[in-house]
């Protein structure tokens, strides 16, 4: 490769540049000659559907992956970032999408790994390490994370914060964040954006990816849109519909479909004074054809509520009614039998069997119906599954491909489709759109409304208040395990939900 143009170097040069970067995985071209540049003092958002190449680009810039072709320049000079360490030496630090924390080590050990304070005989001084970690966390306004605790015991949001802090304390010149907000609540997102604004005011360069449009417009100075492994352009001002159209390559009229009309129907699912770990005295009624939203800050009992309705978390008191009669749900098997389905947010650990095929995952819940004398009848499995793939527009090369080859949004759809196949009429959706790209989100929204229209009932938690406000007939806001407020459509706004949630609430940061 020839030398770059001389005019590009010097203080006016971009802080970081990727020039005609390509990278393939197997037969898939994840990045196809994409170029990108960001300046000092700027917050730069990368947007695009899942699989558009954003994460690959970040990994290459962060030294975690090598490009097949193209080059990376820092302040105009070509550099060889062949390892995260090499990137770190150049002041480039990354918060990767998948967590890189060590679960059975303490927060302090994770924060200070490979930079541990040493005491006598050059041995690590653990007491000092905890104190330093304490100081770091407190300095960044984090009070609810104990540096002596194990990472394994932290919530996902807390882990994400530790991951971010770990990079922030390195005082990066160029900070790359791959979907840093996907598991954060509103407060934590605000905290993170405070940090980002502070860095940019100190002339650092911040590059991040997100699927939440509001966040992007809140904090980003410029936006680069990606599709199919290439960049489509960089914008300082662009409206959401135009951006979505660019990202998906198709016209999207409105992100949120219209709510189905709600008739006075009988309750399908009721909870009365439900108690359990994290849940105290929750009562709710879910009717046929209704989309009932549940909102609030992360860690306030939503997860426990959803999982106990599905029999996957213990309850200590209260009762559950299905079709107006009392039922006992002590495990997911009971719940499935009663027509209750749960789609959790953590697809990898709580729903799908990743190495198994799309077809098998789809039909897992209806195996008894599909099998004769305990032997699965292959033909039936295939037909039922194939229908669903078409209906939900699941993008898979075939039913026999393992699920882990699919993108996150499509994995989520496989899980949804599984329950539709099982003919569940009570569908519990727990933060299903987290980390899912806009186009797929849109499809999931349409699916939700069509479920309601068919007369099924949807109970739906989301960490995205916009979503709740646009899709739900009613929204229950949870705080410290209780229902703190109930809002009814029309006229629900995201601001209402957030303010109901944060009233007197404590959060990880602040």
């Amino acid at each position: 490769m020839s030398e770059g143009p001389a005019t590009a170097s010097g203080p006016t040069a971009p802080a970081i540049e990727g020039i005609k970067l390509s990278r393939a995985f197997g037969g898939v071209q994840a990045l196809a000659g994409a170029s990108f540049s960001a300046r000092r003092g700027e917050v730069h958002a990368l947007v695009g559907e899942n699989g558009a190449g954003k994460s690959t680009l970040i990994k290459i810039l962060g030294g975690r992956l090598r490009a097949d072709a193209g080059e990376v320049r820092l302040a105009g000079g070509t550099v060889e970032l062949d390892s995260p360490d090499a990137a770190h030496r150049h002041g480039v630090w990354t918060v990767f999408q998948e967590l890189t924390l060590l679960p059975w080590m303490t927060v302090a050990e994770n924060l200070l790994i490979r930079r541990e304070p040493r005491g006598a005989f050059r041995l690590i001084d653990r007491a000092r390490m905890a104190k330093e970690a304490d100081a770091v966390l407190a300095g960044l306004g984090i009070h609810n994370i104990d540096p002596r605790g194990l990472v394994e015991d932290l919530s996902l949001a807390q882990q994400q914060i530790v991951e971010i802090v770990r990079v922030i304390v390195q005082d990066p010149d160029i900070l790359l964040l791959d979907e840093p907000t996907s598991s954060l609540g509103e407060n934590e997102v605000e905290w993170l954006f405070g940090l980002i604004r502070d860095l940019s005011s100190r002339n650092k360069c911040i590059i991040f990816t997100s699927h939440r449009w509001k966040e992007i417009t809140d904090v980003a100075d410029r936006i680069t849109i990606f599709r199919n492994g290439g960049e489509l352009g960089t914008f300082t001002e662009i409206d959401e519909n135009r951006a979505v159209t660019l990202m998906t390559g198709q016209q999207v009229d409105a992100l949120y479909p219209e709510r189905p009309a709600l008739e006075a129907a009988r309750p399908l699912l009721e909870a009365r004074a439900l108690n359990g770990p994290g849940v105290s005295g929750v009562s709710l009624t879910l009717r046929r054809g209704e989309i009932l939203g549940v909102g609030g800050l992360a860690g306030h009992g939503h997860r426990e509520l959803f999982f106990s309705l599905f029999g996957a978390a213990p309850t200590t008191g209260g009762e559950i009614l299905v079709n107006e009669s009392k039922v006992r749900i002590s495990n997911p098997h009971d719940a499935i039998g009663l027509g209750i389905a749960l789609v959790p947010e953590d697809r990898k650990t709580e729903g799908l069997i990743l190495p198994m095929s799309v077809g098998t995952n789809l039909t897992l819940a209806i195996l008894p119906q599909l099998s004769a004398l305990g032997v699965i009848r292959g033909g039936h499995e295939g037909r039922a599954a194939l229908n669903m793939v078409g209906k939900l527009k699941i993008r898979t090369p075939g039913l026999r491909n393992p699920v882990h080859q699919l993108s996150g949004g499509n994995q989520q759809k496989v899980l949804l489709a599984r329950w539709l196949l099982a003919d569940s009429h009570i569908v519990l959706l727990y933060d299903v759109t987290r980390g899912v790209d806009v186009a797929t989100k849109h499809e999931i929204y349409e699916l939700m409304t069509s479920l309601a229209r068919e007369g099924r009932a949807v109970l739906f938690y989301s960490s995205d208040a916009e979503e709740l406000a646009h899709l739900s007939h009613r929204v229950l806001v949870m705080r410290e395990g209780r229902i703190a407020a109930e809002l009814a459509a029309p006229g629900i706004t995201a601001e209402d939900i957030v303010s109901a949630a944060v009233r007197e609430a404590t959060s990880i940061v602040g």
Binding site: R64, S83, P84, D85, H88, F96, E98, L99, T100, L101, L102, P103, W104, M105, T106, E109, I113, R114, E116, F121, R122, L123, I124, D125, R126, D146, R148, G149, L150, D153
Partner: protein, 332 residues
């Protein structure tokens, strides 16, 4: 909330953190205390006296080999591996010691160091095959176990040779429990290991290999180092075995592959890697000896002895798992 209350809360939290993070260690120590009490009771009933200096000495001397190879095994278990060649390395060390160590300071020191180096080398071979060759630890060490055993038989085809009495009395003095010093040394080795970069790397590898690499840790080097340490410790175990026997036998190390795993499990280490304490393994090694003692003095029909040993193990492991689950739940 007052400042004192905050400090108090912090302190109790620190204690629960310690307990929750070291369930295995705490349980192993509790088990050891229980075993010693049971042994004392059985001994009292049989002898109307309490165990004294001789019992302490012989228990420590007989357990030293297991303490050492158990610790070696622990290094590998932390990485989520298993080292089945422990017994083979011990056999070879034992055989070499019996054949070569002569009654002079030079020979004793020189050959001891040489044997330790050979042990480390054998461990290094395991480590290279596993880390660089990307092979399953169990397969690799199962194969090298046979190879090392074969080498040991070549060195000492028939049980024999001899260990200078001075050497024996320095390592395992029959009259005084001086070997306790070595137990302390092994515990200190673990303490330092846990607070070294190598320790961090090996533990990080056992936590999550991908994450460790993302943190810039050289996981290949960490894995090789773990196996090398295991070989080194096993060779030391072989030396102690020869010293206790006062002579060599190229097959007496064989049983230690399994015993070392038992010690690791009783010591509360997690076989899935990343968690556990070597101090617990030391306790685990002593518990296995205590089980022999307890059964001996409780006049159990020798034909059912291994049945009871197995029963004891199962109960210990199941109880341990239950308690640790409970403790972790409460600490959350």
């Amino acid at each position: 909330m007052s400042a004192e209350a905050a400090i108090e809360r912090r302190r109790t939290r620190r204690l629960t953190h310690f307990l929750a993070q070291n369930v295995g260690l705490v349980l192993a120590l509790a088990m050891l205390v229980m075993a010693v009490v049971l042994y004392g009771a059985a001994y009292w009933i049989e002898q109307t006296a309490l165990p004294g200096m001789f019992e302490l000495t012989s228990t420590v001397n007989n357990t030293m080999a297991l303490v050492l190879c158990g610790m070696g095994q622990a290094f590998v278990v932390v990485t989520r591996g298993l080292d089945l060649s422990v017994g083979g390395v011990m056999d070879l060390a034992n055989a070499l010691a019996a054949v070569h160590i002569k009654d002079s300071v030079g020979s004793m020191v020189g050959w001891s160091l040489a044997i330790l180096a050979i042990g480390a080398l054998l461990g290094l071979v395991n480590g290279l095959l596993v880390a660089v060759g990307r092979l399953q630890p169990i397969l690799v060490t199962l194969a090298t176990l046979s190879i090392y055993q074969g080498l040991a038989i070549r060195v000492l085809p028939q049980p024999g040779g001899s260990i200078p009495p001075v050497y024996s009395s320095v390592l395992v003095n029959p009259n005084w429990p001086t070997a306790l010093v070595y137990v302390l040394v092994v515990a200190l080795i673990w303490y330092a290991f846990r607070r070294s970069s190598l320790g961090v790397s090996i533990f990080a590898l056992g936590n999550d290999e991908q994450a460790a690499r993302a943190n810039g840790i050289d996981t290949v080097r960490a894995q090789i180092a773990a196996f090398t340490l295991s070989g080194l410790m096993s060779a030391a175990a072989g030396l102690f075995l020869a010293a206790t026997a006062t002579a060599g036998d190229a097959t007496t190390g064989n049983g230690f592959t399994l015993s070392s795993i038992v010690a690791v499990v009783l010591g509360g280490m997690n076989l899935f890697g990343g968690r556990g304490s070597g101090v617990g393994v030391i306790a685990g090694a002593f518990v296995t000896t205590m089980i022999v003692n307890i059964l001996f003095f409780s006049n159990i029909d020798p034909l059912y002895q291994s049945f009871y040993e197995g029963l004891f193990l199962v109960i210990a492991v199941v109880l341990g798992a239950l308690i640790s689950r409970l403790m972790r739940r409460r600490s959350r």
